[in-house]
């Protein structure tokens, strides 16, 4: 048969994790599921057990119970007595230290996993990966001579070439100086689509989560406190305050509509309304994520005249709650009106943004759920991020 020489490539499978484990002084318990080509981010403060959870998934940290599976195939199952060692789980691991093998050349490092992958290799070719990451000129170099950016790229290439079944990223850019991170994040953000593998990401930097992730789970002192899509979780003001403090805000999704070349501004459609932001390079029609810091939003009863706030979005107050360490200020949730092209608007459940106000301001304006209002903010306070 002609097909015999060319076996079909195994399709990537979803990764489902449900684990209990222990660290000194910390019981960790979490569960999540990542589809092929999608990214699940694990966020939480330092010491919440994120890394241990990921290590246990890879088989590098002992688990007390639970199940880790690719599709229907369990690679760890405490009830069935399955506990594959790391080299049989084949989950690629990448963290901020890169951990390149110092006694091997760059090429030796890249080929390390490739040489040990089951044949026929079910992964990208050596040429494709090295060309994509621009590593050809470094083949003969020793890891000690590489810059942090180059080390990251070699480690990423080595991980992808080992033909893994999922990719685990534990703060992979932490070893790279901040000013070198953006181009590497661009590369990293392509990994889920290119590899079509499930990806799990731990990152303390919300811009990485907003850029890469589809879903987020929040870990607090070992427990999973919430989980959902990126806009859901990162726009939840209580979580957002918990994670980001003064940078707390809302993450909303929109579509680039127009670029204003003269003033170097870009307009993004959000629920039928226009948000103006500093010019971005993303093409018209591209889906983007906007991050608006909650403390930079002011609320008004009516549209403003003569204001520097170029963004005025109509909406309706949905809830008011106390926020801050001691409930010192208030958080007001505003659901944006969905405006149709024709101009009339109707209220649909959907996009919500949060404004942080003082309790006095809430009192004086006599704000209450159900009231219509206008949320205004400067174009400068919008951060636009492409979304993979």
């Amino acid at each position: 048969m002609s097909n015999a020489s060319k076996p079909p490539k195994a399709l990537p499978l979803p990764l489902s994790v449900e684990l209990r484990l222990q660290q000194p002084g910390l019981d960790i318990q979490a569960q999540f599921r990542v589809l092929p080509g999608r990214v699940c981010a694990i966020v939480g403060r330092g010491g919440s057990g994120k890394s241990a959870l990921l290590k246990a998934t890879a088989g590098l940290h002992p688990s007390l119970g639970g199940r880790v599976a690719l599709g229907h195939q369990a690679i760890y199952d405490s009830t069935a007595g399955v506990n594959l060692p790391p080299h049989q789980r084949r989950l690629a691991w990448l963290d901020g230290h890169a951990h390149l093998f110092p006694h091997l050349s760059v090429q030796g490092n890249l080929e390390y996993g490739l040489a040990r992958a089951p044949k026929p290799v079910n992964g990208p070719t050596f040429d494709a990966v090295t060309q994509w990451l621009d590593l050809r000129s470094l083949f003969k170099a020793r890891p000690a001579r590489l810059t942090p950016s180059q080390r990251f790229k070699v480690a990423l290439g080595r991980a992808l070439l080992s033909a893994p079944r999922a990719i685990l990223l534990d703060d992979p850019l932490s070893g790279v100086p901040e000013h070198d991170q953006p181009p590497l994040l661009d590369l990293l953000a392509q990994v889920p689509t290119r590899s079509k593998l499930p990806v799990v990401l731990i990152s303390p930097r919300m811009n990485e989560v907003i850029r890469m992730a589809d879903d987020v789970i929040v870990l607090h002192e070992g427990r999973m406190t919430s989980g959902g899509t990126v806009p859901q979780i990162l726009s939840d003001v209580s979580l957002s305050t918990f994670l980001e403090g003064v940078n707390a805000g809302s993450v909303i999704e929109g579509e680039v509509k127009r670029h204003d070349i003269e003033w170097l501004l870009s307009e993004v459609d959000v629920a039928g309304q226009r948000v103006t932001a500093p010019a971005v390079l993303h093409a018209v029609g591209r889906k983007v994520r906007l991050k608006i810091r909650a403390r930079e939003i002011s609320l008004h009863r009516d549209l403003l005249e003569g204001s520097s706030a170029s963004n005025q979005l109509r909406g309706r107050i949905t809830q008011i709650m106390l926020a801050g360490e001691n409930g010192s200020y208030g958080a007001v949730g505003v659901e944006l009106d969905h405006v149709r092209e024709t101009g009339d608007f109707s209220i649909q459940p959907g996009v919500q943004i949060w404004a942080l106000l003082t309790r006095r301001a809430i009192q004086e304006m006599d704000l209450a759920p159900g009231q219509p209002c206008v949320a205004s903010f400067k174009a400068m306070s919008v951060a636009v991020s492409s979304w993979r």
Binding site: H87, R90, F101, P102, R116, P118, A144, R158, S162, S174
Partner: protein, 241 residues
């Protein structure tokens, strides 16, 4: 140089090489296991392995004699079973040298294994390497300069082992005299010192020993420097949560 001097040098060389051959593999395994081990009671293994280094060498020789010679119960039993009896050379001298040399090698090797980034081998495993393959292809090469260093030191120590060897020699060679064909360099040197006529021979033997020690320490330090340089260059730097 007289024949018995050359004989002594040749014997010491054989003892040193055989000792190295026997001690290196267990020293590697023990150092690698002890560098990682945090299991219950690992301190006991640690102590037992390093003990001969701290014991008076004469006690080591005595213990060997009691344990393995035909007079001892264990030695007698082994002798009955296999026909093997403890002799001065090769078994006695090599065993005595190994017991003293191996702890020294473990002591030199362990910091090298401890200094290896503890994520190296696990990372190799996530790339598809079995634990054994990861040890062979990553851990051992990373420790290689220290292995060279430990082997050089071990060679010098085995060459010069005197205390335990002397106890064995006095028990297993009833009439020590000059020119005994089974004398290692330190023993021959001691015998030579007993008569003023042999002062020249003693000096020559001492000089050869200095030469061996010089080369060994040189190699050992070269290995250590290489090892330190490698880690200074690759150790992860910068903050990591």
């Amino acid at each position: 140089m007289s024949t018995w001097e050359l004989d002594a040098i040749w014997l010491s060389g054989q003892i040193a090489l055989l000792t190295l051959l026997i001690s290196t593999p267990p020293a590697l395994v023990l150092a690698s296991v002890m560098a990682k081990a945090r299991w219950h009671g690992h301190w006991l293994l640690n102590t037992v392995v390093l003990l001969p280094m701290a014991l008076p060498p004469a006690v080591v020789g005595f213990a060997l004699l009691m344990g393995l010679s035909d007079d001892g119960k264990l030695g007698h039993w082994i002798g009955n079973l296999t026909g093997w009896t403890l002799s001065f050379f090769p078994s006695g001298a090599v065993l005595a040298a190994s017991l003293v040399t191996m702890p020294l090698m473990v002591r030199v090797l362990r910091p090298a294994f401890e200094a290896i980034d503890p994520m190296m081998a696990p990372l190799a495993q996530t790339l598809g390497a079995s634990p054994w393959s990861a040890w062979w292809s990553i851990t051992l090469p990373l420790a290689a300069p220290a292995v060279l260093s430990a082997m050089a030191l071990g060679l010098a120590a085995a060459w010069g082992e005197t205390g335990a060897t002397l106890v064995l020699a006095s028990a297993l060679q009833p009439s020590p005299r000059i020119g005994h064909p089974e004398h290692s360099v330190p023993l021959a040197l001691m015998q030579a010192l007993r008569s003023p006529d042999n002062l020249g021979a003693a000096t020559r033997l001492a000089l050869v020993s200095v030469g061996v020690a010089f080369v060994a320490v040189l190699l050992s330090e070269a290995g250590r420097r290489h090892w330190q340089g490698r880690w200074a260059a690759i150790r992860p730097r910068g903050p990591h949560p």
